[in-house]
Symmetry: C2
């Protein structure tokens, strides 16, 4: 585009030749009437142009279904350009050939083949609305340089590839594009089910205008700058392996694959090793924050080879949420599957935080409060015990459908996607008592036996009419006590895994990247950033120890009241059982060792020889 | 052996020739004095025979270190035979050539080359003590028939093979031998570490005199009647696979391998399939009862192909413990790894029963009782709540070292061998809330953090001086309540696995084979045999429901008292939390579903459309 005489036809023809696509000169498609009007020295009005621009738009659409084309057209006003790119806006690249009126005048004087008299030039400049979404090219340059410049700008390889455009993948694409990265986006093609997913997605959001959309793996990979950075946002499990196999033939040495799904950390280690042998880097990364977090800034937990992280760091740290100090909620976690491991534990902690809030609501109900009152109570807790999950719980409690509380219409069978399950398995395998995560998981499992629960309730005629005798403050303190135990256990599991696998994890950094963007962000998490700079053991921190001491009478009161009144509070209950367990100097485990020795000759250690030797007794 | 003229030399020579081993005629080794005495018509006295018999014993020992030999010797008295087989008794096979005095007299008359006059014959018969541990052969038969008979009887293949002579393997060998089975026993040879294990073991126990001992796999396998039945008693895990590979080249189609170790049920399924392809049957079987149970009658839980079980049934059911009705505590459980699965759950239930007893002791201590008093209390519980584990706990509490209770000298760090871990993993994978097993497992894990517990105890200055205010009966009822929940959960896990894997397990039969021989045998288990004939759900049984209702106030009292007094009772506590969970008609899981939908768009179901459709709400 550009005013008459700017060189559209010349440059357009050369560009089309270079790109091996057809060239269309817009002026060739003027109706007879327009040509006559211009030849007579009269300027065209918008009515004259309308049909002509629509003709060109139709032509462009036809060409787009094939290999595309180059069209030369003055397109001076934004509304002309809108007509020209009607319904194909995201697929059109505008090139504006820009020159001064003096430059153009000189050019037009030397031409005799053109039907527009130079007297119209001033009116052209008067009409021109300089485009801001176009590539601006100075017409003073030689045609060869102009072609080279256009080609370089338009065909620039993408910085970053996103493979898999589900809910999370799409949000991450928009996040990357909003941050100015040139991305390539891929989604597989499945006849009749997933067609043109990437192209259609690109069309939906203006920030994706510079993004490249593909459903062909080879073209997708080739559109990326080397070493390529490709983030996989596909279903965890076998799919990841299939995708890796599909990509491998197209990759080059030192390319980087990033698995952003909830993969099992042991599998990530296997894939890391497998790809290492092939010269490909593999970064397993937890991404937390849901759809909204992925779009506006998630918490990101990448692990793998440190040198590969350096290459993806600018992308991940830019799109991540920012902490209180403006630092990205993204850090290099460690090697192998450590990123997926901590994401798994993150989800385990999340299970417990959710279960605790559910239990709190249940207890407050049994203490005689209705949902509005509970919402008001939790609202006040934001001052001292705020968290994202507390905030959404308040929103949920307040949501109504007509006169009904919506939450009361929801079937009480809790789903799970496997990470709570994995955390429980990991803790049993590592020998770490993550009792709260297991309890929260099992509470979900128990919820699934709805029919049995109803039948049992009927059978045992349990009515919980009695009112639990606790204060709001006791409930708050009991809740806070259990949350401290939850975070103690979660970070303990991470710290023990770090020892077992030699990962050398930084607990403070992990807490820091969980202070924003992710589901378990909270003021408590913010406190932990500092705590973990001095200790790996939360409950030994001065402030936390003081809080535990202060809250303990309340948790004892709440839990014992619930037990006496038949109210199920598995996680609140386990929090105090666990605390009693880890503060018992001499436990009853000596009896278990005696029993094991009695029936299985498993032997035992003694306290009076410092547990060095193994002993066996004939107990009868 | 046999009187002079019975045909010892003739038969012995032929037999030695047939077996390709040396023949030794005892008479050739008489000292000169003995020969003269006999030739003079005088009978030898015991003093005459002593040196001669010792010479033959030395010869036998020399030959045994090579390929063995056949020795002919009259050996009329038991004490002569004792001298002859001194220190090699278990390796000697006696053959007694038996005839009437008339038969022998006829034979001797026709011989002129013999130095013993026939006049001595009567004295020989007078001296003869007919052996009862020998093979008796009628001398009226032809020498060829005699040789064939001896060979058939002596070289009879074994009925059953035992591979691996650890504590459990040895006990099972003795059990099989005590029940009259002819067995072959194998233990690997490891220079300087495991040498002649089978041979030495055979020498230790008289019941093993007919058992064959090997450290060569090929000879071991070839000693077994086809189809061979070989029970593997080796360490669970990789070892089983190595042993299978070692055995495979020697096995024939339809041979049966029985894995009696605590193998993971998923691995058993893999091995079952692997061996099926090779035409070999694989039976995975749980064996419970420890060393003593294995010897006197364990509980056995075999699974695999039903037709293969028919072949091993006579052995396993004979050596198993017997239930109240005299039926074997062994039954065909089901296909694939179902036997190992139920053994795993058995151990999970065992973990909880042990933990509950440890907690009971701890609570009673905090109620002011000393160990003698606790033992007396538990002694009285045998009337209504008896179990093997209760019995051994009483023994343990009473065991003293001088003035000290031995159990108080034991370090309170509880070990585990993996099955509690597996049960927890299996229940998380199957979506079944086996909360008590997980809690008992985690209690052991917590016990392992001894140093931290001591430091925490110090830090929080927790003193449990206060006395828990409960009665003995409340403690008993709380204990019984928790045990019912434990058995409910254990059998629930089995029943859900049965559905998931299409195993069609019989809960009543499983309870029945756990009523004796195994660690969790109890009067409660005996009750369950009947209960499971009518329902798969313990708590819906009339008697159990009544017991639960009766015991519930006590468990509430005990647990709330413990919580208020800082006493850790994780399993007792979880028992009431769990019961409250499964009897809550409308749980707080609706809140969790709302939260999941809020941050992850996971959708939820509604109660007002019968949970059919999935819904999503914009909650903000």
């Amino acid at each position: 585009m550009g005013v008459s005489g700017c060189g559209k036809s010349t440059v357009g023809k050369l560009l089309a030749q270079e790109l091996e696509i057809p060239f269309i000169d817009g002026d060739d498609y003027h109706p007879e009437a327009n040509i006559k009007k211009m030849a007579s020295g009269q300027a065209l009005n918008d009515a004259d142009r309308k049909g002509w621009l629509e003709t060109l738009n139709d032509l462009a659409k036809q060409q787009l279904s094939k290999e595309g084309c180059v069209i030369a057209c003055s397109a001076l006003k934004q509304k002309y350009r809108d007509t020209l790119s009607q319904s194909i806006a995201h697929q059109v690249e505008w090139i504006y050939l820009s020159g001064t009126i003096a430059q153009i005048f000189e050019r037009l004087k030397s031409r005799s083949d053109h039907f527009m008299p130079s007297t119209l030039l001033q009116s052209q400049f008067d009409t021109l609305e300089v485009p801001n979404k176009a590539l601006h090219i100075d017409i003073g340059l030689s045609p060869e340089i102009i072609i080279k410049t256009i080609k370089n700008k338009l065909m620039i390889p993408s910085d970053f590839g996103l493979f898999g455009l589900g809910v999370m993948g799409k949000s991450l694409c928009r996040n990357l594009a909003n941050n100015g990265f040139k991305i390539s986006m891929f989604n597989r093609h499945v006849d009749g089910v997933e067609e043109q997913v990437a192209v259609n997605f690109k069309a939906q959001f203006s920030e994706l205008s510079t993004a490249a959309a593909f459903d062909d793996i080879s073209a997708f990979v080739n559109s990326l700058q080397q070493p390529r950075k490709i983030m996989l946002m596909v279903n965890a499990g076998k799919t990841i392996d299939f995708v890796i196999e599909d990509l491998l033939p197209h990759l080059s040495k030192n390319d980087i694959l990033i698995d952003g799904g909830n993969s099992n950390y042991l599998k990530t280690k296997e894939r890391f090793d497998y790809l290492k042998d092939k010269g490909i880097h593999f970064i397993g990364t937890g991404v937390s924050g849901g759809e909204e977090g992925a779009l506006k800034g998630p918490s990101i937990m990448p692990s793998g080879a440190a040198e590969a992280y350096e290459d993806v760091k600018p992308f991940l740290e830019t799109i991540a949420a920012k902490d209180q100090n403006g630092l990205p909620c993204c850090t290099y976690v460690g090697t192998e599957g450590s990123g997926h491991f901590i994401k798994m534990v993150h989800n385990g902690i999340e299970y417990v935080e959710m279960q605790l809030l559910a239990e709190v609501c249940s207890v407050l109900k049994h203490a005689g409060k209705n949902l509005d009152e509970i919402a008001d109570i939790l609202e006040t807790w934001k001052e001292t015990a705020n968290s994202y999950l507390l905030e959404i719980t308040v929103d949920i409690l307040r949501k109504k459908e007509g006169d009904h509380y919506l939450v009361n219409q929801i079937l009480d069978k809790a789903g799970n996607k496997g990470t709570g399950n994995w955390t429980t398995i990991a803790s049993t395998q590592l020998g770490v008592p993550s009792t709260l995560i297991a309890t929260a998981l099992f509470a979900r499992y128990t919820s699934f036996y709805k029919d049995e629960r109803v039948a049992n309730n009927e059978h045992f005629r349990i009515t919980t009419d009695t009112t639990i005798d606790i204060t709001i403050n006791e409930m708050l303190e009991g809740y806070q006590f259990a949350r401290i135990m939850n975070h103690y256990q979660g970070f303990k599991l991470i710290s023990e895994a770090s020892k077992s696998f030699n990962w050398d994890l930084n607990l403070s950094e992990i807490a820091r990247i969980w202070t924003n963007g992710c589901i378990i962000r909270s003021t408590l998490m913010e406190d932990l950033v500092t705590v973990f700079k001095n200790t790996t053991n939360i409950i030994m921190d001065e402030n936390f120890a003081a809080a535990i001491k202060a809250y303990k009478p309340s948790v004892k009161k709440v839990v014992s009241q619930c037990i006496l009144n038949d109210v199920s509070v598995p996680c609140l209950g386990e929090s105090i059982q666990f605390f009693n367990g880890i503060t018992t100097a001499n436990s009853s485990a000596n009896m278990i060792q005696a029993q094991r020795d009695y029936f299985g000759a498993h032997t035992y250690k003694r306290i009076d020889d410092y547990g060095v030797k193994s002993h066996h007794t004939n107990w009868k």
